[in-house]
Symmetry: C2
Subunit: 464 residues, 2 copies
């Protein structure tokens, strides 16, 4: 008999329907006349209440075995619930116990556990309310991302994870090697490492961004996006950093900074809107239990036209706002979190996009503006969130790009293929990057980024 | 003015509409009275034919600059085409040239290029008909995969790329390290490598499969799937191997081998069907130019109920079929490609699923059958394709699993968290793995797997 998912029953089923469910026991409460049992199958935050009456086979033995965490299949008839808290409940006629969970050793007993404790049982923590809700929201968010781009004719491109480009993020790169580390081959002449004998015949790394390769693909398909894992070997043991995280990077040919801003705004609105629609119970749970501003923040993003100002205007605003900042403001400095939050939360009170940053604080590939001082960069800042998207129009002019590469101490020949895109049929193009876990964090209000990815990778930790 | 994608124009636009297109010149042909120009924007295999008349501004200069690969924006009015080969064409009133492509140096001139040659210009090859079609089909296939699982309430789970589990694929694992390879720290006592000083404080690798972690997630959400990159440091320089490739791995709690087979069959039918619907021109191109069986193979998969036999039955069939195989057949040996192809192509003439293989040739996590000789494994074999999916019901019984781990020379404690899934609320569960590039290869008929992924990673090659 095919089982019905509990979310379906809670949303759509009517009394008198015969159903079978499968899931894990959250709690049981044994009364004199019968036993209440909450069963959850991960399809929704809410569990289904099951009533076990002494008439069911093996009642006496069974209720002792049905502890928190036990796995069951229950068949029976749905009835209207007289108790409060649920519309409908299941009167069991048949219960199959698949596996017990010994109350002495099962770590997830019915009580509050700290997120830190739960991180140590990463293989079990998604069975809790909060982590379950996080992962459902994460999935809805991921699905919304694909939906957004696929509907607009963007091609999902799988940019390489292993790369030999070290032009970005030097010092924060993980090495990928097939060497036996006990016996690394060295060149006879100078005893340096002989990477020609490594798997890829050169020093290889884990990617920090798929952007450069996404640009390659945009020059063939016009509109593309990446959605894949990226890596930073940054020794930051903070609540905002992961060594392995997922990024979304759209790249559009024949697009300028304004088109880039328009896409970023539509994209953010879309994912927040879709998740609110798809996971209303989970989002209410976060608003109630984790951060009582998450629904307001989402509505703010969905319903407001984003503000748009230049970096130069932002600096002027910050200079005359009368606030004292820890990091002093002057033209040329990078905006700090405190500045970004002031702009979004106090001045605009809604998301805004800051454009045209000084070239000295931005990457070589951003398009140089006519003032020769700023580049066509953009950062999207949101209340309570800060920077959520960073992007730019790309430098499409060969000579300018070569000059910028040299200015930043890199070697143009290392990027010969990237420069080829400017040699052959170059076009104005633009794109941006969105840290996927950051979005999930902001959407849910979860304070630590390690709690919005199934298996976090951080300094000294690659468990499970 | 917003540009229209060429696929939209070719499919839906009517004569007399005014449109703007953006793309790259494929060819031009200068006649006395006017010039034909084919423009492609990557949205479709077909280009749009543009007519440039001497009346357009700078006609004389422009037609000299519009070589293969140049990037343009063209505005004009659509007219019915009098020539054959297209329904509609664009009479240009305005042409903007963004970037030229010098005919002397641009490698993609209008002629046939070998796939091998194109691999050396991986940053440009997607601008060709074949690679363009491959990547559109790849995208359609990827989108179909997400659609299939999302519609069925499966959660997309991002299993870790960096892992410290070396229980699978030993010897084929890439090491991930933050060590300076010139100066690897060693323990004082015995001079062995001190991994406690590496980024993750242990020897870390690139994942070969997300299955074990997907099982963790299935024990919380019932139905989940992975879709992400996996890695093999296998020194195989063949047309069927990549060091970095994408895998899809669904995992279902409360599911047995029969449910696993049902899902695999529905899944394959869905992706082939969806791609045929979404990319009819591209698929016809592959059938015409690459392999004239791809459409028939797809139809065969879509329209036939898959055959289902046990390994033992398959061996009996092979033994009595009268064919001489290179690899002799007897109960206990693994099926070779020649055996699989005989079964699918000559005996069944349609896809089939072989189940219940000898335990000695399968992985430790597959569920032991009551005969104590076979495990609840399954391989899906398809005509012209061979094995396309491998899966199993998983061993959910703690004691049996521990015994199997020890039998295979591994240490149960290394898999403590995986065993915990059997300690606490264990359930029958099953899943399978699909090599994404293999599917794209089979769908398109492309002979070399390096030509169905944007940036292939293979021994001695991690370009771009």
């Amino acid at each position: 008999m095919t089982a019905t998912r509990i979310i379906e029953i809670l949303r759509n089923s009517q009394p008198d329907e015969t159903v079978t469910i499968q899931g894990w026991v959250r709690t049981t409460r044994e009364l004199k006349e019968f036993t209440f049992m909450e069963v959850n199958d991960g399809s929704s935050l809410a569990s289904l209440q099951v009533i076990l009456e002494p008439s069911i086979p093996n009642y006496g033995t069974l209720v002792k075995q049905l502890g928190t965490g036990a796995s069951v299949q229950v068949s029976g008839v749905l009835v209207s619930s007289v108790g409060k808290g649920q519309r409908i409940e299941l009167k069991a006629s048949n219960v199959t116990l698949y596996g017990e969970a010994d109350a002495q050793t099962y770590p997830l007993q019915k009580k509050r556990h700290s997120f830190e404790f739960l991180r140590n049982i990463g293989h079990l923590r998604c069975r809790t309310n909060t982590l379950g809700a996080v992962m459902r929201v994460r999935n809805a968010c991921a699905a919304a991302i694909h939906q957004f781009y696929q509907e607009r004719g963007f091609i999902w491109v799988h940019t390489p994870i292993i790369t030999a480009n070290d032009c970005e993020g030097a010092g924060e790169l993980f090495t990928v090697t097939n060497f036996n580390l006990n016996n690394i081959p060295r060149k006879k002449e100078d005893q340096t490492i002989d990477y020609s004998q490594d798997f890829f015949a050169k020093h290889a790394y884990l990617t920090v961004s798929g952007q450069l390769e996404a640009e390659v693909m945009a020059m063939a398909f016009q509109n593309v996006y990446t959605f894949g894992p990226t890596f930073r070997a940054e020794n930051s043991n903070t609540s905002r950093h992961l060594a392995e995280f997922w990024m979304v990077e759209p790249e559009m040919a024949f697009c300028d900074l304004e088109g880039d801003q328009n896409l970023a705004e539509a994209f953010l609105k879309h994912i927040f809107k879709t998740v609110l629609e798809k996971c209303p119970e989970d989002m209410e749970f976060f608003n109630d239990r984790i951060d009582n501003t998450v629904l307001a923040t989402a509505e703010n993003i969905i319903n407001n036209e984003f503000g748009r100002i230049t970096y130069t205007e932002a600096i002027a605003l910050l200079e005359k706002c009368g606030k004292t900042f820890e990091y002093p403001v002057e033209w040329g400095v990078d905006l700090q979190s405190e500045h970004e939050r002031y702009l979004a939360e106090e001045h605009f009170k809604k998301p805004l996009i800051v454009t045209n940053y000084p070239k000295t604080i931005k990457a070589f590939y951003m398009r140089l503006n006519d003032d020769d001082k700023t580049v066509a960069a953009m950062d999207v800042l949101a209340p309570k969130i800060g920077e959520i998207i960073g992007g730019s129009q790309r430098e499409e002019r060969l000579e300018v790009l070569e000059r910028r590469i040299i200015e930043q101490g890199m070697i143009p020949d290392d990027l010969w293929w990237y420069l080829d895109l400017r040699r052959f049929g170059t076009v104005p193009h633009a794109g941006f990057g969105l840290g996927f876990e950051r979005v999930v964090q902001f959407m849910t209000g979860m304070g630590n980024i390690r709690d919005v990815i199934p298996f976090p990778r951080t300094p000294q930790s690659a468990e499970f």
